[in-house]
Amino acid sequence: MPIAGDPEAADPRLLEAAEAVADGGAVDWASQAAESPELAGALEELQMLAQMHGALRSLEGDAPSIERTVLFRWGELEVLAKLGEGHSGEVWSAWDPALEREVALKLAHEGERRSNALEEARRLARVRHPNVLAIHGVDVRDGRAGLWMERLEGSTLEQLLSSQGVLGAREAAGVGIELCRALAAIHATGLVHGDVTTRNVMRERGGRIVLMDLGSGTVSGDLAVGSLTGTPLSSAPELLTGAAPDARADLYALAVLLFRLVTGEYPVTADSLDALRAAHASGVRRSLRAARADLPTGFVAAVEHGLIADPAQRYADAGAFEAALAEAMMPVAAGVVTTAPVRSQKLQAWGVGVLVTAAVVAVLAWIGRPREAVTTSEAGAQNPVASSVPIPQVVPSAPSSVTPALPPSIAALEFLRGRDGTAEAVQSGALVRVGDELWMRMATREAAHVYVFNEDDAGEVYALFPVSGTSQANPLEPGAKRELPGAREGETLHWQVSSPAGRERFLVIASRKPLAAVERAVAALSPASADAPLTYAAVNDTLMAALRGVGRMRPATPMHETSGRLDALVAELSMTDGVWLRRYELVHEVR
């Protein structure tokens, strides 16, 4: 029997993106990939499908019979309207009868050295990458050199910056990652872009990030072409003193772009080229940390590294910059244990509630044997990462049925994992992976107050149960087996592993009596309601202190140690009469 209604249900985040594609709506692919790096490959394919969907609609719309006003012809192309003009030429919209679609035609100014323009354009035409504007062709017609390329609909990053303000770190990192890939493709052909700025990057309607205006592209290290082809404020300092453009200069410009995306400003400003050179020479530049104190440290470090004046100290290549950005955002993605991006409509359709955990050690606690059953997991016993807190008594975990390890007040307890349409009782040390669903089945012989927490690799603790608005609430009545976290609006809810981590840990506390401090903490944390997606809230240090205050007090364990917060709680509760504990640690598969 499928756990989730659909035995082959995809990741909810992938499904949400797929839904937008099906609707023909926009998807912020960069942000999606940055938030869900484990889905990046599938999202990339989905983006391709979105492009195909859009292209087919566009091709249908480009019926040959549509009348167009042709201003003039350039070879086979029917030139329709002028889109703009830059230092190296004019850009027109044109109809390509061979491709049967509208294209952008860039015509070099008359007098432009044709051989240079053609040679560069031919090289650029060899760059094929989803994040680089596609060049359809290059030629000289009627004495004018030109290249025609895909026509994009969207806004430049500069326009977005003006209309919507600065970006957050995650969104900017997503843009940066896509631009790193674009630059890697360009650099692989021996070219450099030469003018990576917010004006030369388009965010298409569908969310695709496209690096444009390759007209400044030059051969890496080619001094003859001239070193300062780009925007001075985005140019690497060595270019201002005559060095040849290379990949590292492009990466510096990308770091400037990211700086600008999150601050709206340039790291180094000046009124003239000489002043700019002087500013670089003196090492005077804005600090990203000072400009945006709220940005994650990893993101700040990744951008600052790209802005190092000495090119030898910067990223060696675009791949290194991409890796730094991805790594910088990983803790943010992994630490998010809030609401899954799932609407109730989907819950109904899929027959399952999806909750997000990042998490953890499972500590199950039962009523009945005071001071007895704080349990280390089997994995924990073998693994030095597990609890460092003294544990009064080690009892084997008993996940699937009534065993001698269960206290008299607990009739049954199962900790279940759902995967690929099958449910399986798991014990500590079991493997989990993103997408797995987890839940508990429990029967008590007397009323029990149960609380579930988890802890992620970053040491953050989250409250998972009880959750308001669900069918299960404290105290759990004795008798039949009950599933935690319960159901909402008739839909069974499970916890779902939604982000990669080293370990998944659960903490469940049970007590014959309500644990007042825990109750207050959980009530303060749980914003879920019957008509909103369930959200797990982080337990901050203050609340952790309150939780540890349950029962008899003992000195608080220092809270800065990762993976130590729940251990401290376990230690505290193990000293409390009528409270039972057991811990499980599940390990993420390495694939």
Binding site: E8, E45, M52, L56, E100
Partner: protein
């Protein structure tokens, strides 16, 4: 709610009569054949529009190719046993795709000797190939073929043929437009996962 969803399936033409039309045509009703032609010719012509490279368009008009394909498909309609409109459309699409490949091969045969037909075909991208790239399109076709038939039809109808949600619901026998939407959503997600898994 999307604009499509606001429109109940009943408001659209009775697409579910395709099975009836096929049965009538099998029984020799030429009017049913004309009705099938009228229904599917424009749909398939639009679909073929982006699939034929310029070289092939010089050899056979898209409309002719679609008509020939449709005639051929109907002459073999006894092989078609599904009652789903979506399955019939997928069947026609398969026939048209084969027809396009035949045209490309013929074009290559008539090319000067020494030119590899496959190479000729690959050097003359269709508009869709120009946008997507031949490799991606091939990966898409392969992954599509690996999907269960109902999910294949869901993707084809929505993504390739641009059917509205009510139309997809009717053609695939789904109770509501939203149910059709969920089916397409799941199909796209699985397709993307499969493409990724096979390209690694």
């Amino acid at each position: 709610m999307t604009p499509d969803e606001a429109q109940p399936p009943a408001a659209k033409p009775p697409l579910d009569s395709t099975a009836v039309l096929i049965d009538r045509y099998r029984a020799g009703d030429q009017g049913a054949r004309d009705a099938l032609f009228a229904r599917y010719l424009p749909v398939l012509q639009r679909w073929a529009h982006g699939r034929l490279p310029a070289a092939a368009r010089n050899l056979a008009d898209t409309g002719d190719l679609v008509q020939v394909t449709l005639l051929r498909a109907l002459s073999h309609v006894h092989e078609f046993d599904s009652q789903r409109e979506g399955a019939f459309l997928a069947y026609l699409r398969r026939g048209l795709l084969n027809g396009i490949r035949d045209q490309l091969r013929r074009a290559a045969v008539r090319a000067p000797s020494g030119i590899d037909p496959e190479a000729l075909a690959s050097h003359e991208p269709s508009p869709l190939e120009s946008v997507m790239g031949a490799e991606t399109l091939a990966a898409y076709e392969a992954a599509l073929a690996r999907l269960p038939s109902e999910l294949q039809e869901a993707v084809i109808m929505r993504v390739e043929f641009g059917y509205t949600w009510p139309e997809v619901a009717t053609a695939l026998g789904r109770p509501t437009p939203n149910a059709a939407r969920m089916l397409v959503t799941r199909a796209l997600a699985r397709l993307a996962e499969d493409m990724h898994a096979h390209r690694r």
